[in-house]
Symmetry: C2
Subunit: 339 residues, 2 copies
DNA sequence: CTGAAAGCGCTTACAG
DNA sequence: CTGAAAGCGCTTACAG
């Protein structure tokens, strides 16, 4: 490794001051155009690498934005991240990613690390049980936070998420319209705002159709494909013999469909199943999954935009921004046939 | 936001020097135990946040490790990342993640950013067409690099990946053992080392069994579930009427199986399909997928270990470390029946 | 249009 | 066991 090239190396080699070099490399009009070009050329040939730590220490802006969600491997978050990534890329921000796996400690460690690195802001989908202080920690140290996908009670931060209650009612109404009356709800947890909202939306849709709500038709818990797959046994042995299942998300629905298929029943004929999220794989699952698009791309894009706007000084209104979900009807749902 | 707390704030409040505070907070035995406790206590009550940029500027170590792969949303990389994450967490390193989507530019931008942030090291699965200089850029600036999943010709870096040629021959031999003679290979690209190796392994296995290799039985390209799904039409209309398909990876295999099912054929009976990677969802797909475990957890863990060892000063041998894949036999393969 | 100098917040020899 | 001082590599008023 050659000797470290810094501003002063370039300055000396050209007989200029570091101030001039610094300005020139950042395209300041204060430096004459030809001097600027000469300096840039020299920086290139010397293989100069800009030291962001030094700059950031001086300016107290780092260009770093943190993103922390439950689990990147879950395609739902993956699709949100992709939208955030493409928005931040455009503005030359670096983004640091972390999973919290719903561990409040892991999430706090991440926020602290981000503060230590001088992060400019953070986008988070808060872990279950996140104390308000952990979010305030960021704000109080000058690092604005934006929430995605999950709401937190008692904090007044800009939040971008789908309208879960409305979305799940779309799915439930679709099944009711096909004649289903005994409809189970599979997966999710009351520990997140999303979980509570989706269950509530399902309950509301049933009530509106004058269908009695049977709490035993709810199988809470599963949130993954594996979880949905395992839930199939429970679902199929419910004494009420449900003819349809509203699932927490697409992963649970796909797992459940595979489990039902393995038991010899045909999804879309014997049993109807709906998902939630409209992941890329929903359209090509077997059978193709009827689901609700949660507009992940919009959620990510809008959240990133909101953060960038805030960093640029504009103060967007706080509060919850609900993204409107849309129904996607495919082959996993069909006319009700009693079992 | 309260006034910024720094070492000197704590020092003044306790009538000590910043040197003592700095040492105490890092548990130096040079500071008396009770002074140390008093200092830590004070740091906590003042809400002190360690400024890593300043420290890193001084020490030229940042605690940052970069990881760049093709696409995090691909569960194959996701599983590798998970292993890297858990290994790095333990050593209190922060890791910065990026997708390159096989864009050499995006990858180079990432490496440059990492250098600017003073990254301690980088783990990469190089983009197709990565020029050797881009990797040398990192090394020459004191940032060691480790390769995962893909090899690069002409660079002598520590590389951790599965033994693709051997792995695919396991799958091919398994099909041959079931009586299949007309076996297609679906997906992958000759542009990566992995793609070439897997095709070669398939060819070798056929030759060894005295089965003529028909290049038209290869459908290159697909690497995603969507790709596999779309390839089903081509596959089913091949004039050679293959009875089995060796797929590039599990995603392609699952997509292909869904496509075959949609055409009314039964995978595991009419057509046998093998995957590659043994993703979590392989075991619960419909039918359960016969595949080859690529040992992603080992690849990630060993690569992270190797980097940490190097940062700690030990110089591991360069070169390729091949991880041995393992066969997982499930329901998507069965005895050959002519179509 | 260019330069001299201070300062961002740490850590690290060096003294005592 | 504790302190005074230099320096990491930038940027930014302030002069000229």
């Amino acid at each position: 490794m050659a000797q470290k090239i810094k501003l002063s190396t370039i300055a000396e080699s050209l007989g200029l001051s570091t101030a001039t070099i610094s300005l020139a490399l950042r395209d300041s009009p204060l430096v004459a155009a030809d001097t600027r070009e000469k300096i840039k050329e020299q920086a290139r040939t010397l293989g100069y690498i800009y030291n962001r730590r030094a700059a950031s220490l001086r300016t107290s802006r780092s260009g770093i934005i943190g993103v922390v969600v439950h689990d990147v491997m879950n395609p739902f978050y993956g699709e949100i991240l992709k939208a955030i990534e493409s928005e931040l890329d455009r503005s030359r921000h670096t983004f640091i990613l972390s999973n919290h796996y719903d561990s409040v400690e892991k999430q706090r460690t991440f926020i602290e690390t981000l503060l230590q690195l001088g992060g400019d802001g953070v986008i988070m989908s808060p872990a279950i049980g996140t104390p308000i202080e952990d979010v305030k920690l960021a704000e109080q140290n000058g690092m604005p936070a934006i929430l995605v996908a999950r709401t937190m009670d008692g904090v007044d931060l800009p939040t971008y998420r789908g309208d879960d209650s409305y979305g799940i009612s779309l799915a439930t109404n679709h099944l009711i319209g096909l004649g289903h009356r005994t409809i189970a709800m599979i997966g999710g947890t009351d520990q997140t705002s999303t979980g509570r909202d989706r269950y509530q939306g399902y309950v509301n849709a049933l009530r509106k159709a004058n269908i009695e709500v049977d709490p035993n038709l709810r199988i809470p818990g599963p949130r993954s494909m594996q979880g949905g797959y395992e839930a199939a046994v429970n679902f199929l042995s419910l004494p009420q013999k449900p003819t349809a299942a509203v699932c927490w998300n697409d992963l649970v629905a796909i797992g459940l469909m595979n489990g039902i298929a393995r038991a010899g029943l045909i999804v879309g004929q014997d049993i109807s199943v709906t998902g939630y999220d409209d992941l890329e794989q929903a359209a090509i699952s077997m059978p193709a999954l009827t689901t609700v698009s949660n507009q992940q791309a919009d959620v990510g894009r809008l959240a990133a935009r909101a953060l960038l706007d805030r960093l640029a000084g504009s103060h967007e209104p706080d509060g919850i921004h609900l993204i409107r979900p849309e129904m996607r009807i495919r082959q996993s749902t069909g006319i009700c046939r009693p079992r």
